[in-house]
């Protein structure tokens, strides 16, 4: 039995990836732990935010350089934007700062739920696609919006499992299945995944990849959790390719019924 991981590359926009895990870089206990977690997860594509430069007491550590040196592909986000206008200028700044036209497009409706505002999201996506960005929109687990984003020219669609930072896992697996069954672009489950089994389920449902941050960074042992997430993604993808057995209402023995003793 060949126990080596199968070669199973996938593409998002013009990028070919081998890991099914995208990881965020925020909220780790330290930069060293963050870098080690990225490494053991196997991720190749990591998210960053854009914020004002710290003019006072800025450390020598430059996150951009640390990630560049390690050859990660960068996925800047528009976290904290509430309107299409804010998201578009933030994306333009990210492209200029980081030299990538990939953008994780987040347009949030309110601080309490951090749920996407579909109206503003669609408006921003349309502008950014026209400006030549490779747009990965963070969206609700709504199959209708997902299809609209795909038709608009987004290179992937990123439905939530549950609200950002909740770790509540996949609340509506049927919606994710509906989205993946109709999509031609990669579906990346973003937000709300809490642990390894959530990741495996996402891949088993047919999603192409997962994006996590808090599940790893806020676990008790981020490095160990990062490894678990990487393994779960591989396991979930393998299970998806293998194909789940048909589910049955009543029990059915796998052992042969014929030839039983004392009958």
């Amino acid at each position: 039995m060949n126990n080596k991981p199968i070669k199973d590359p996938w593409t998002v926009g013009d990028l070919t990836l081998h890991s099914r895990v995208l990881l965020g870089t925020a909220s780790y206990p330290s930069t060293d732990i963050m870098l080690k977690a990225l490494e053991v997860s196997g991720t190749e594509f990591v998210t960053v935010s854009l914020r004002r430069v710290a003019t006072q007491g800025q450390g020598s550590e430059n996150l951009y350089q640390l990630l560049q040196e390690r050859k990660y592909h960068l996925l800047p986000n528009t976290a904290g934007c509430f309107t299409a206008k804010e998201a578009v200028i933030t994306a333009e700044m990210a492209r200029e700062a980081l030299g990538t036209n990939f953008i994780k497009l987040e347009v949030i409706a309110d601080e309490e739920t951090l749920l996407p505002d579909p109206e503003q999201l669609l408006e921003a996506a349309e502008v950014l696609v026209k400006e030549g960005f490779q747009v990965l929109p963070y969206t609700n687990d709504d199959p209708v919006t997902a299809l609209k984003l795909e038709n608009m020219g987004c290179v992937a669609v990123m439905p939530l499992a549950s609200p950002i930072g909740t770790g509540l896992g996949i609340r509506n697996p049927h919606n994710l299945e509906l989205i993946t069954s109709r999509a031609c672009v990669p579906i990346i489950v973003d937000a709300g995944l809490g642990t390894a089994s959530d990741v495996a389920l996402a891949l088993e449902l047919g999603c192409d990849a997962v994006l996590l941050n808090s599940a790893v960074a806020r676990s008790h042992d981020p490095i160990r959790m990062a490894r678990a997430i990487g393994n779960a993604a591989s396991a979930g993808r393998d299970a998806r390719l293998a194909g789940r057995m048909a589910q049955k209402f009543l029990a059915e023995s796998a052992s042969p019924l014929a030839g039983r003793a004392w009958r």
């Binding site: 854009l50 951009y64 200028i89 808090s214």
Partner: protein
């Protein structure tokens, strides 16, 4: 002259360019991973050296930070 820099009033020498301002703020000669907007418009890196800062400009200088 007075400008607004990252949301705060800032006094600067007349005639300063975006490039010099970025170098001062980032404490680096060739700052990496940084973008600048002047009055809501991105100033491309290639234009920094030839773009003057004007009085009352609203300038944002952003960099990559940890994010999810």
């Amino acid at each position: 002259m007075i400008i607004r820099l990252n949301g705060e009033p800032q006094e600067l020498c007349d005639g300063i360019t975006i490039e010099t301002l970025v170098q001062q703020q980032s404490k680096a000669d060739s700052p990496q991973g940084i973008a600048v907007a002047q009055n809501g418009q991105v100033v491309r890196r290639a234009q920094w050296a030839c773009t003057p800062v004007s009085p009352n400009d609203d300038i944002e200088i952003l960099q990559a930070v940890a994010g999810g």
